[in-house]
Symmetry: C2
Subunit: 236 residues, 2 copies
Protein backbone atom coordinates (compact mmCIF):
# COMPACT_ATOMS: atom_id res chain seq x y z
CA UNK A 1 0.00 0.00 0.00
CA UNK A 2 1.27 3.47 -0.88
CA UNK A 3 2.57 5.48 2.09
CA UNK A 4 2.41 9.25 2.64
CA UNK A 5 3.39 11.54 5.49
CA UNK A 6 0.98 14.13 6.85
CA UNK A 7 0.25 16.00 10.06
CA UNK A 8 -2.75 17.89 8.83
CA UNK A 9 -5.62 16.12 10.59
CA UNK A 10 -9.09 17.34 11.48
CA UNK A 11 -11.60 14.93 13.05
CA UNK A 12 -9.88 11.77 11.78
CA UNK A 13 -9.61 13.17 8.25
CA UNK A 14 -6.19 13.96 6.79
CA UNK A 15 -5.71 16.59 4.10
CA UNK A 16 -2.71 15.76 1.93
CA UNK A 17 -0.26 18.24 0.42
CA UNK A 18 -0.61 19.36 -3.20
CA UNK A 19 2.41 17.26 -4.20
CA UNK A 20 1.02 14.13 -2.55
CA UNK A 21 -2.46 14.83 -3.97
CA UNK A 22 -0.93 15.04 -7.45
CA UNK A 23 0.93 11.76 -6.85
CA UNK A 24 -2.23 9.99 -5.65
CA UNK A 25 -4.48 11.18 -8.48
CA UNK A 26 -2.14 11.53 -11.48
CA UNK A 27 0.70 9.09 -10.85
CA UNK A 28 -1.05 6.33 -8.89
CA UNK A 29 -4.45 7.08 -10.47
CA UNK A 30 -6.27 6.16 -7.28
CA UNK A 31 -10.01 6.48 -6.84
CA UNK A 32 -12.39 7.43 -4.04
CA UNK A 33 -12.48 4.61 -1.44
CA UNK A 34 -8.93 3.45 -2.29
CA UNK A 35 -6.75 2.87 0.77
CA UNK A 36 -3.44 4.56 1.57
CA UNK A 37 -1.10 4.55 4.57
CA UNK A 38 -0.57 7.88 6.31
CA UNK A 39 2.22 8.35 8.83
CA UNK A 40 1.72 11.08 11.41
CA UNK A 41 4.10 11.55 14.33
CA UNK A 42 5.69 8.11 13.73
CA UNK A 43 2.31 6.31 13.83
CA UNK A 44 0.87 4.67 10.74
CA UNK A 45 -2.82 4.76 9.83
CA UNK A 46 -4.71 2.95 7.10
CA UNK A 47 -6.89 5.65 5.54
CA UNK A 48 -9.63 5.68 2.90
CA UNK A 49 -9.64 8.40 0.27
CA UNK A 50 -12.92 10.32 0.59
CA UNK A 51 -12.39 13.34 -1.71
CA UNK A 52 -9.99 14.98 -4.18
CA UNK A 53 -8.43 18.46 -4.74
CA UNK A 54 -6.64 18.18 -2.39
CA UNK A 55 -6.92 14.54 -1.38
CA UNK A 56 -8.68 13.96 1.93
CA UNK A 57 -8.49 10.56 3.58
CA UNK A 58 -10.30 9.20 6.62
CA UNK A 59 -8.58 7.06 9.27
CA UNK A 60 -9.81 3.46 9.29
CA UNK A 61 -7.26 1.69 11.46
CA UNK A 62 -3.95 2.27 13.24
CA UNK A 63 -1.12 -0.10 12.34
CA UNK A 64 1.08 -1.46 15.08
CA UNK A 65 4.44 -1.18 13.36
CA UNK A 66 7.77 0.51 13.83
CA UNK A 67 10.37 0.20 11.10
CA UNK A 68 12.91 2.50 12.70
CA UNK A 69 16.32 1.51 14.05
CA UNK A 70 16.68 1.88 17.81
CA UNK A 71 19.85 3.95 17.37
CA UNK A 72 19.95 7.32 15.68
CA UNK A 73 22.49 7.25 12.88
CA UNK A 74 23.55 10.54 11.36
CA UNK A 75 25.38 10.35 8.03
CA UNK A 76 27.77 13.17 7.23
CA UNK A 77 28.81 12.83 3.60
CA UNK A 78 31.56 14.85 1.92
CA UNK A 79 30.25 16.54 -1.20
CA UNK A 80 30.40 14.25 -4.24
CA UNK A 81 28.67 14.69 -7.57
CA UNK A 82 24.89 14.86 -7.88
CA UNK A 83 24.28 11.31 -9.11
CA UNK A 84 26.29 9.86 -6.26
CA UNK A 85 24.69 12.13 -3.67
CA UNK A 86 21.22 11.09 -4.87
CA UNK A 87 22.18 7.43 -4.58
CA UNK A 88 23.56 7.86 -1.07
CA UNK A 89 20.47 9.72 0.14
CA UNK A 90 18.03 7.21 -1.31
CA UNK A 91 19.86 4.11 -0.10
CA UNK A 92 20.76 5.43 3.36
CA UNK A 93 17.13 6.37 3.80
CA UNK A 94 16.06 2.81 2.90
CA UNK A 95 18.58 1.60 5.48
CA UNK A 96 17.21 3.66 8.33
CA UNK A 97 19.44 6.75 8.68
CA UNK A 98 18.09 9.30 11.13
CA UNK A 99 19.57 12.49 9.68
CA UNK A 100 21.99 13.65 7.00
CA UNK A 101 24.43 16.52 6.54
CA UNK A 102 26.62 17.30 3.54
CA UNK A 103 30.23 18.23 4.40
CA UNK A 104 32.53 20.51 2.45
CA UNK A 105 35.76 18.49 2.55
CA UNK A 106 39.13 19.90 1.48
CA UNK A 107 39.33 17.32 -1.33
CA UNK A 108 35.71 17.50 -2.46
CA UNK A 109 35.65 17.96 -6.22
CA UNK A 110 32.22 19.58 -5.91
CA UNK A 111 32.74 22.89 -4.19
CA UNK A 112 29.98 25.30 -5.18
CA UNK A 113 28.37 26.76 -2.12
CA UNK A 114 26.05 28.99 -4.09
CA UNK A 115 23.72 26.25 -5.25
CA UNK A 116 23.64 24.48 -1.89
CA UNK A 117 20.25 25.86 -0.81
CA UNK A 118 18.60 24.50 -3.95
CA UNK A 119 20.36 21.20 -3.47
CA UNK A 120 19.22 20.87 0.13
CA UNK A 121 15.61 21.25 -1.00
CA UNK A 122 16.10 18.63 -3.71
CA UNK A 123 17.82 16.22 -1.31
CA UNK A 124 15.06 16.57 1.26
CA UNK A 125 12.58 15.63 -1.47
CA UNK A 126 14.58 12.51 -2.39
CA UNK A 127 14.63 11.50 1.26
CA UNK A 128 10.88 12.05 1.62
CA UNK A 129 10.14 9.83 -1.39
CA UNK A 130 12.54 7.13 -0.21
CA UNK A 131 10.92 7.22 3.23
CA UNK A 132 7.49 6.62 1.72
CA UNK A 133 8.77 3.84 -0.52
CA UNK A 134 10.72 2.03 2.18
CA UNK A 135 7.91 2.36 4.77
CA UNK A 136 9.78 4.55 7.23
CA UNK A 137 8.00 6.04 10.25
CA UNK A 138 9.95 9.28 10.02
CA UNK A 139 11.43 11.39 7.23
CA UNK A 140 15.13 11.90 8.01
CA UNK A 141 16.15 15.55 8.12
CA UNK A 142 18.69 16.76 5.56
CA UNK A 143 20.61 19.41 7.50
CA UNK A 144 22.84 22.27 6.42
CA UNK A 145 26.30 22.06 4.82
CA UNK A 146 28.94 21.57 7.53
CA UNK A 147 32.58 22.65 7.60
CA UNK A 148 35.46 21.20 9.59
CA UNK A 149 34.74 23.39 12.64
CA UNK A 150 31.13 22.22 12.71
CA UNK A 151 32.34 18.62 12.55
CA UNK A 152 34.79 19.16 15.39
CA UNK A 153 32.04 20.50 17.62
CA UNK A 154 29.34 17.95 16.85
CA UNK A 155 28.21 15.72 19.72
CA UNK A 156 27.29 12.02 19.62
CA UNK A 157 27.78 8.87 21.69
CA UNK A 158 29.94 7.31 18.98
CA UNK A 159 31.70 9.25 16.23
CA UNK A 160 32.93 7.13 13.34
CA UNK A 161 35.39 8.40 10.74
CA UNK A 162 35.48 5.98 7.82
CA UNK A 163 39.12 5.77 6.82
CA UNK A 164 41.43 3.53 4.80
CA UNK A 165 44.28 4.52 7.12
CA UNK A 166 46.00 1.31 8.20
CA UNK A 167 45.58 2.06 11.90
CA UNK A 168 41.78 1.95 11.46
CA UNK A 169 39.91 -0.62 13.54
CA UNK A 170 37.20 -2.53 11.74
CA UNK A 171 33.57 -1.58 12.30
CA UNK A 172 32.75 -4.75 14.22
CA UNK A 173 35.49 -4.05 16.76
CA UNK A 174 34.42 -0.42 17.05
CA UNK A 175 30.76 -1.33 17.64
CA UNK A 176 31.59 -4.10 20.12
CA UNK A 177 34.01 -1.87 22.06
CA UNK A 178 31.27 0.72 22.61
CA UNK A 179 28.08 -0.81 23.86
CA UNK A 180 26.14 2.11 25.27
CA UNK A 181 25.36 4.52 22.52
CA UNK A 182 22.13 5.90 21.14
CA UNK A 183 23.43 8.41 18.63
CA UNK A 184 26.10 7.50 16.09
CA UNK A 185 27.72 9.81 13.57
CA UNK A 186 29.35 8.36 10.45
CA UNK A 187 31.58 10.73 8.49
CA UNK A 188 32.49 9.73 4.93
CA UNK A 189 35.35 11.35 3.02
CA UNK A 190 35.33 12.56 -0.59
CA UNK A 191 36.83 10.65 -3.54
CA UNK A 192 40.33 11.91 -2.74
CA UNK A 193 39.94 11.00 0.95
CA UNK A 194 40.31 13.28 3.95
CA UNK A 195 43.52 15.30 4.29
CA UNK A 196 45.83 14.36 7.16
CA UNK A 197 44.93 17.64 8.84
CA UNK A 198 41.21 16.88 8.62
CA UNK A 199 41.71 13.37 10.03
CA UNK A 200 43.92 14.60 12.86
CA UNK A 201 41.49 17.34 13.83
CA UNK A 202 38.60 14.89 13.93
CA UNK A 203 40.57 12.24 15.85
CA UNK A 204 41.51 14.87 18.43
CA UNK A 205 37.79 15.53 18.88
CA UNK A 206 36.90 11.92 19.62
CA UNK A 207 36.25 10.45 16.17
CA UNK A 208 37.33 6.80 15.76
CA UNK A 209 39.14 5.77 12.55
CA UNK A 210 37.06 2.87 11.24
CA UNK A 211 37.45 0.49 8.32
CA UNK A 212 34.78 -1.49 6.48
CA UNK A 213 37.09 -4.26 5.29
CA UNK A 214 39.97 -5.08 2.97
CA UNK A 215 38.64 -3.88 -0.34
CA UNK A 216 38.66 -0.25 -1.45
CA UNK A 217 35.13 1.17 -1.45
CA UNK A 218 34.06 4.24 -3.39
CA UNK A 219 32.92 7.26 -1.39
CA UNK A 220 29.29 6.71 -2.44
CA UNK A 221 29.42 3.04 -1.39
CA UNK A 222 30.86 3.56 2.09
CA UNK A 223 27.85 4.98 3.93
CA UNK A 224 25.50 2.40 2.38
CA UNK A 225 27.79 -0.43 3.46
CA UNK A 226 28.30 0.98 6.97
CA UNK A 227 24.55 1.30 7.50
CA UNK A 228 23.93 -2.22 6.14
CA UNK A 229 26.50 -3.58 8.58
CA UNK A 230 24.88 -1.76 11.52
CA UNK A 231 21.50 -3.15 10.52
CA UNK A 232 23.08 -6.61 10.67
CA UNK A 233 24.74 -5.96 14.06
CA UNK A 234 21.39 -5.09 15.61
CA UNK A 235 19.38 -7.80 13.87
CA UNK A 236 17.67 -10.09 16.37
CA UNK B 1 48.40 2.69 -7.59
CA UNK B 2 46.35 1.79 -10.65
CA UNK B 3 45.55 -1.94 -10.94
CA UNK B 4 45.18 -4.02 -14.12
CA UNK B 5 44.62 -7.70 -14.79
CA UNK B 6 46.84 -9.63 -17.22
CA UNK B 7 48.05 -13.16 -17.83
CA UNK B 8 50.25 -12.37 -20.79
CA UNK B 9 53.74 -12.69 -19.31
CA UNK B 10 57.05 -13.41 -20.98
CA UNK B 11 60.26 -13.35 -18.91
CA UNK B 12 58.83 -11.16 -16.15
CA UNK B 13 57.43 -8.70 -18.67
CA UNK B 14 53.64 -8.29 -19.00
CA UNK B 15 52.02 -7.13 -22.23
CA UNK B 16 48.76 -5.35 -21.52
CA UNK B 17 45.61 -5.48 -23.66
CA UNK B 18 44.79 -2.71 -26.12
CA UNK B 19 42.03 -1.42 -23.83
CA UNK B 20 44.33 -1.30 -20.81
CA UNK B 21 47.13 0.24 -22.89
CA UNK B 22 44.73 2.97 -23.99
CA UNK B 23 43.69 3.56 -20.37
CA UNK B 24 47.30 3.78 -19.20
CA UNK B 25 48.49 6.15 -21.93
CA UNK B 26 45.44 8.27 -22.76
CA UNK B 27 43.31 8.29 -19.59
CA UNK B 28 45.96 8.02 -16.87
CA UNK B 29 48.65 9.67 -19.03
CA UNK B 30 51.38 7.54 -17.49
CA UNK B 31 54.99 7.66 -18.61
CA UNK B 32 57.82 5.16 -19.01
CA UNK B 33 59.07 4.07 -15.55
CA UNK B 34 55.69 4.74 -13.90
CA UNK B 35 54.51 1.93 -11.64
CA UNK B 36 51.28 -0.06 -11.93
CA UNK B 37 49.85 -3.11 -10.16
CA UNK B 38 49.23 -6.17 -12.30
CA UNK B 39 47.16 -9.08 -11.01
CA UNK B 40 47.84 -12.46 -12.58
CA UNK B 41 46.29 -15.66 -11.25
CA UNK B 42 45.20 -13.91 -8.01
CA UNK B 43 48.73 -12.65 -7.29
CA UNK B 44 49.57 -8.95 -7.39
CA UNK B 45 52.83 -7.57 -8.79
CA UNK B 46 54.21 -4.05 -8.74
CA UNK B 47 55.43 -3.48 -12.31
CA UNK B 48 57.32 -0.70 -14.07
CA UNK B 49 56.18 0.47 -17.49
CA UNK B 50 59.04 -0.10 -19.95
CA UNK B 51 57.41 0.54 -23.36
CA UNK B 52 54.21 1.61 -25.11
CA UNK B 53 51.97 0.36 -27.99
CA UNK B 54 50.94 -1.92 -26.37
CA UNK B 55 52.11 -1.18 -22.84
CA UNK B 56 54.74 -3.57 -21.52
CA UNK B 57 55.58 -3.61 -17.83
CA UNK B 58 58.31 -5.40 -15.95
CA UNK B 59 57.76 -7.11 -12.59
CA UNK B 60 59.54 -5.37 -9.72
CA UNK B 61 58.00 -6.94 -6.67
CA UNK B 62 55.23 -9.33 -5.60
CA UNK B 63 52.71 -7.98 -3.09
CA UNK B 64 51.60 -10.20 -0.25
CA UNK B 65 47.88 -9.36 -0.26
CA UNK B 66 44.57 -11.06 -0.68
CA UNK B 67 41.43 -8.94 -0.75
CA UNK B 68 39.04 -11.79 -1.52
CA UNK B 69 36.33 -13.15 0.77
CA UNK B 70 36.93 -16.71 1.96
CA UNK B 71 33.45 -17.74 0.81
CA UNK B 72 32.33 -17.71 -2.79
CA UNK B 73 29.20 -15.62 -3.12
CA UNK B 74 27.23 -15.88 -6.32
CA UNK B 75 24.65 -13.15 -6.93
CA UNK B 76 21.68 -14.06 -9.10
CA UNK B 77 19.79 -10.88 -9.90
CA UNK B 78 16.40 -10.73 -11.60
CA UNK B 79 16.51 -8.47 -14.64
CA UNK B 80 15.97 -4.82 -13.70
CA UNK B 81 16.64 -1.76 -15.84
CA UNK B 82 20.12 -0.92 -17.11
CA UNK B 83 20.99 1.81 -14.58
CA UNK B 84 20.08 -0.43 -11.68
CA UNK B 85 21.90 -3.43 -13.14
CA UNK B 86 25.05 -1.33 -13.60
CA UNK B 87 24.83 -0.17 -9.99
CA UNK B 88 24.38 -3.72 -8.67
CA UNK B 89 27.31 -5.06 -10.68
CA UNK B 90 29.69 -2.29 -9.65
CA UNK B 91 28.79 -2.33 -5.97
CA UNK B 92 28.63 -6.13 -5.58
CA UNK B 93 32.03 -6.29 -7.20
CA UNK B 94 33.42 -3.79 -4.68
CA UNK B 95 31.92 -5.97 -1.95
CA UNK B 96 33.63 -9.16 -3.08
CA UNK B 97 31.07 -11.15 -5.08
CA UNK B 98 32.57 -14.21 -6.78
CA UNK B 99 30.22 -14.55 -9.75
CA UNK B 100 27.03 -13.07 -11.16
CA UNK B 101 24.08 -14.33 -13.22
CA UNK B 102 21.08 -12.38 -14.48
CA UNK B 103 17.74 -14.16 -14.02
CA UNK B 104 14.65 -13.79 -16.17
CA UNK B 105 11.95 -13.56 -13.49
CA UNK B 106 8.23 -13.78 -14.25
CA UNK B 107 7.73 -10.22 -12.96
CA UNK B 108 10.85 -8.69 -14.52
CA UNK B 109 9.83 -5.54 -16.36
CA UNK B 110 12.88 -5.92 -18.60
CA UNK B 111 12.29 -8.96 -20.74
CA UNK B 112 14.22 -8.65 -23.98
CA UNK B 113 16.30 -11.72 -24.55
CA UNK B 114 17.60 -10.53 -27.89
CA UNK B 115 19.98 -7.93 -26.52
CA UNK B 116 21.23 -10.14 -23.71
CA UNK B 117 24.51 -11.09 -25.42
CA UNK B 118 25.49 -7.45 -25.84
CA UNK B 119 24.49 -6.76 -22.25
CA UNK B 120 26.59 -9.62 -20.91
CA UNK B 121 29.67 -8.17 -22.63
CA UNK B 122 28.93 -4.72 -21.21
CA UNK B 123 28.33 -6.12 -17.71
CA UNK B 124 31.58 -8.07 -17.77
CA UNK B 125 33.37 -4.82 -18.63
CA UNK B 126 31.75 -3.01 -15.68
CA UNK B 127 32.85 -5.83 -13.39
CA UNK B 128 36.41 -5.74 -14.75
CA UNK B 129 36.71 -2.00 -14.11
CA UNK B 130 35.19 -2.27 -10.63
CA UNK B 131 37.63 -5.11 -9.83
CA UNK B 132 40.58 -2.92 -10.78
CA UNK B 133 39.25 0.05 -8.85
CA UNK B 134 38.42 -1.89 -5.69
CA UNK B 135 41.71 -3.85 -5.73
CA UNK B 136 40.22 -7.29 -6.24
CA UNK B 137 42.45 -10.32 -6.88
CA UNK B 138 39.99 -11.84 -9.33
CA UNK B 139 37.50 -10.54 -11.87
CA UNK B 140 34.10 -12.06 -11.05
CA UNK B 141 32.52 -13.89 -13.97
CA UNK B 142 29.23 -12.60 -15.35
CA UNK B 143 27.47 -15.78 -16.46
CA UNK B 144 24.57 -16.44 -18.80
CA UNK B 145 20.91 -15.50 -18.29
CA UNK B 146 19.20 -18.15 -16.13
CA UNK B 147 15.59 -19.28 -16.10
CA UNK B 148 13.63 -20.92 -13.29
CA UNK B 149 14.75 -24.44 -14.26
CA UNK B 150 18.39 -23.39 -14.16
CA UNK B 151 17.82 -21.90 -10.71
CA UNK B 152 16.16 -25.07 -9.47
CA UNK B 153 19.13 -27.15 -10.55
CA UNK B 154 21.92 -24.91 -9.29
CA UNK B 155 24.13 -26.31 -6.52
CA UNK B 156 25.62 -24.48 -3.53
CA UNK B 157 26.24 -25.04 0.19
CA UNK B 158 23.73 -22.34 1.12
CA UNK B 159 21.00 -21.04 -1.17
CA UNK B 160 19.43 -17.76 -0.06
CA UNK B 161 16.20 -16.43 -1.52
CA UNK B 162 15.75 -12.80 -0.47
CA UNK B 163 12.08 -12.45 0.31
CA UNK B 164 9.74 -10.08 2.13
CA UNK B 165 7.48 -13.06 2.90
CA UNK B 166 6.67 -12.92 6.60
CA UNK B 167 7.93 -16.45 7.22
CA UNK B 168 11.44 -15.37 6.18
CA UNK B 169 14.19 -15.79 8.74
CA UNK B 170 16.61 -12.90 9.04
CA UNK B 171 20.03 -13.21 7.44
CA UNK B 172 21.88 -13.41 10.75
CA UNK B 173 19.82 -16.42 11.83
CA UNK B 174 20.30 -18.06 8.44
CA UNK B 175 24.09 -17.59 8.48
CA UNK B 176 24.41 -18.72 12.10
CA UNK B 177 22.27 -21.82 11.50
CA UNK B 178 24.59 -22.96 8.71
CA UNK B 179 28.21 -22.81 9.67
CA UNK B 180 29.92 -25.00 7.11
CA UNK B 181 29.52 -23.48 3.71
CA UNK B 182 31.96 -22.29 1.11
CA UNK B 183 29.63 -21.38 -1.72
CA UNK B 184 26.58 -19.20 -1.16
CA UNK B 185 23.98 -18.23 -3.72
CA UNK B 186 21.86 -15.13 -3.20
CA UNK B 187 18.82 -14.79 -5.44
CA UNK B 188 17.19 -11.35 -5.68
CA UNK B 189 13.69 -10.85 -7.08
CA UNK B 190 12.54 -8.16 -9.52
CA UNK B 191 10.68 -4.96 -8.54
CA UNK B 192 7.35 -6.82 -8.44
CA UNK B 193 8.84 -9.63 -6.33
CA UNK B 194 8.90 -13.34 -7.12
CA UNK B 195 5.60 -15.04 -7.93
CA UNK B 196 4.33 -17.56 -5.39
CA UNK B 197 5.07 -20.31 -7.90
CA UNK B 198 8.67 -19.19 -8.29
CA UNK B 199 9.18 -19.00 -4.53
CA UNK B 200 7.61 -22.41 -3.95
CA UNK B 201 9.71 -24.05 -6.66
CA UNK B 202 12.89 -22.58 -5.21
CA UNK B 203 11.97 -23.47 -1.61
CA UNK B 204 11.34 -27.06 -2.71
CA UNK B 205 14.88 -27.11 -4.11
CA UNK B 206 16.52 -26.05 -0.85
CA UNK B 207 16.46 -22.26 -1.05
CA UNK B 208 15.96 -20.50 2.31
CA UNK B 209 13.58 -17.52 2.48
CA UNK B 210 15.69 -14.78 4.01
CA UNK B 211 14.94 -11.23 5.13
CA UNK B 212 17.34 -8.30 5.47
CA UNK B 213 15.30 -6.44 8.07
CA UNK B 214 12.10 -4.52 8.71
CA UNK B 215 12.27 -1.88 6.01
CA UNK B 216 11.34 -2.47 2.39
CA UNK B 217 14.45 -2.47 0.18
CA UNK B 218 14.43 -1.89 -3.56
CA UNK B 219 15.53 -4.75 -5.78
CA UNK B 220 18.79 -2.99 -6.64
CA UNK B 221 19.57 -2.35 -2.95
CA UNK B 222 19.02 -5.91 -1.72
CA UNK B 223 22.13 -7.64 -3.08
CA UNK B 224 24.39 -4.76 -2.01
CA UNK B 225 22.98 -4.88 1.52
CA UNK B 226 23.19 -8.69 1.74
CA UNK B 227 26.84 -8.66 0.66
CA UNK B 228 27.67 -5.84 3.10
CA UNK B 229 26.11 -7.85 5.90
CA UNK B 230 28.11 -10.96 4.97
CA UNK B 231 31.30 -8.90 4.93
CA UNK B 232 30.42 -7.83 8.47
CA UNK B 233 29.63 -11.38 9.63
CA UNK B 234 33.09 -12.57 8.54
CA UNK B 235 35.00 -9.50 9.77
CA UNK B 236 37.68 -10.43 12.31
Amino acid sequence: MQRYFSNSKDNDVYTLSNDDSYHITKVMRMKINDLIEIVDDKKTYICKIISFNPVKAEVKEMLNENNELEKKIIIIQSLVNETKMDLILQKCCELGMYAFHPYKAKNSVVKENDKIDKKLVRWQKIVKEASEQSKRNIIPVVGRLLNIDDLCNIEADLKILLSVNEVSKNLKNVLHANNSYDTIIIVVGPEGGFTNLEEEKLISRGFVRTSLGARVLRSETASIVALSMMNYEWMV
